[in-house]
């Protein structure tokens, strides 16, 4: 307490109520700015599409999520969500398996490190969106190429990250395991992998943002459904009344996934979380 009396800004903490208020503040400001901006534009042109009113946003949500589409009879928001999440899930799962498998191998085995680490470092720098035509011709225009784009987008980062984490393990652990007679396979499976699990979750959390980006890019190029497909299709008609709720929905899904991963990490690997809190 003595410190906080010194009056320096870095020592002043808000109370818990004020803290919550401060956290809400930027969101409230954004909403307010939107409401005012939308009001001004709509008073000039009641049909303005750029910043629709909250009621037309609500109408669009009602229409996209809770009423069957006039032409197809589908509930578009849910059809799009299922299509996008299955692509995202496939891509992220594959990227995680590849990232963990290759990352751990490269981090642990010198021969693999010499062969792969320079290659992965260079490969990770290729912007996948710039070589899209090659991806198409190789994987076709269907679901495979969308999943492949996500994998190419995030797997190299996960490989590099995990290889780095493996090399950070104290060498005493590896030596000790060897004196107890463990084989390379044993060490990888019993010493390294269990310690990498929470770190894989970290890498996954950091990659999810990019994974969404690549998913939406893939859906913009060729698709018949998906959250990114709908946004890019309706952008042609400046239908911000649908696009904004979709953006909100994507953001919400991403926040929820991040939250779930973090809680799972705390629940499943408490030793890791407490260790990190100490350091």
């Amino acid at each position: 307490m003595a410190l906080s009396r010194s009056g320096r800004l870095i020592n002043k903490h808000p109370g818990s109520a004020a803290g919550r208020l401060l956290a809400v503040l930027p969101f409230a400001l954004l909403l307010l700015a939107y409401a005012v901006g939308s009001d001004i534009r709509l008073s000039e042109n009641p049909n303005d599409k750029l910043l629709p009113s909250f009621s037309s946003l609500a109408d669009a949500v009602e229409r996209m999520a809770f009423e069957p589409d006039k032409r197809t009879g589908d509930y578009l928001l849910w059809v799009d969500t299922v299509a996008s999440l299955s692509r995202l899930g496939g891509g992220v799962l594959l990227a995680t398996l590849l990232g963990a498998g290759i990352g751990i191998t490269v981090g642990l085995i010198p021969y693999a490190r010499w062969t792969m680490s320079a290659f992965i470092a260079v490969f990770a720098m290729i912007p996948p969106l710039a070589v899209l035509p090659i991806l198409f011709i190789t994987f076709g225009l269907g679901e495979t190429s969308k999943v492949a784009l996500i994998v190419f987008g995030i797997a190299p980062f996960m490989m590099r990250d995990l290889a780095l984490r493996v090399s950070e393990l104290p060498s005493e652990q590896i030596v000790k395991a060897q004196t107890l007679g463990a084989s390379t396979w044993h060490i990888a499976w019993r010493i390294v992998l269990p310690q990498m699990m929470p770190r894989i979750i970290d890498a996954l959390r950091l990659s999810l943002g990019s994974a969404w980006l690549f998913l939406i890019a893939a859906e913009a190029i060729a698709a018949q459904s998906g959250l990114g497909y709908r946004i890019f299709l309706l952008r042609r008609y400046l239908a911000m009344d649908v696009i904004l709720p979709y953006v909100f929905w994507i953001t919400l899904l991403a926040v929820v996934f991040d939250f779930i991963l973090r809680r799972y990490q705390v629940w499943a690997y408490p030793w890791f979380v407490s260790e990190r809190a100490q350091s």
Partner: protein, 357 residues
Amino acid sequence: MKLFSKTLVALATSMSLMVAGASSVNAEEKKEFKLAWSIYVGWMPWGWAADQGIVDKWADKYDIEIEVVQFNDYIESINQYTAGAFDGVTATNMDTLAIPSVGGVDTTALIVGDFSNGNDALILKGADSLDAVLGQNVNLVELSVSHYLLARALETLGKAEKDVAVVNTSDADMIAAYQTDDVTAVVTWNPLVAEILEIPGANKVFDSSDIPGEIMDLTVVNTETLADNPAFGKALAGAWYETMSIMLSDTPEGAAARAAMGEASGTDLAGYDMQLASTQMFATASDAVTFTTSESVTSTMESVRTFLFERGLLGDGASSPDIVGIAFPDGSVLGDEGNVKFRFNADYMSMAADGSL
């Protein structure tokens, strides 16, 4: 807390001013104007006319300034115009109706530059009759003129869109997409059409010359801005038809102009001439006036608005295609006369034809 609420109000006000600032380009008399254009065979003249100082020359004549801005993304240019950041834009008749007009921005077709006469085409892989398209996946930019062309092609067979499966595909990736095995039918526009037709096995089975005059390339301007500033319309029309007379002439100057336009659109003189061959450019203002004042424009807009209405693009509250009024040079109106948001106007083209600019 007082300071806090003051800051909040100030912040909100400044943010909303930013937003409002972008929308206040329309209305009242002014001196500075902005025209947006994008790369397409029928709109390349704007870029060239700006480079050659032709636009400036005509703007000076009417004592105004016109900034000509090139967009790499066609739809973005229309969206920016609709949001109020530009006074005019190049667009097709269909996109003008669906974006600014439905968006409540009263828009006038000032110059009808050309209509597509083969530039948009349906191409099949390994089949050479139109009815082979039935039951196939068709890759195209959904809700674009390509989609419209497909709908019109299916109409000629007495079929509808449910008889094929449309796959939305970005135009930037159309050529790569065509080369994958699962793509067997595409609808797209030039120069992509020419590029794809060079691939063995590609057959053009329907193109815009089968529906002549229906896909028009326009230069449109904000109606209110034009009413308050006729000088803007006069300068644009003057610059456009001076450019036409140079570029379409069979002279070294004309060839040089077309070569420059070809280069600016990523091809050369031969490539650009080939695209012009499937574009019905109106070389003179009087040709454009004859076309714009003809009956066929009304029937075209009838079929365009029906296409848009069936796809929900005239707004979700729209109970009939009549919701947005479309006015023609003779004063007739298609749809709601109280809500005219798209106007074909031959006045400025007529002035250019009479030489009274």
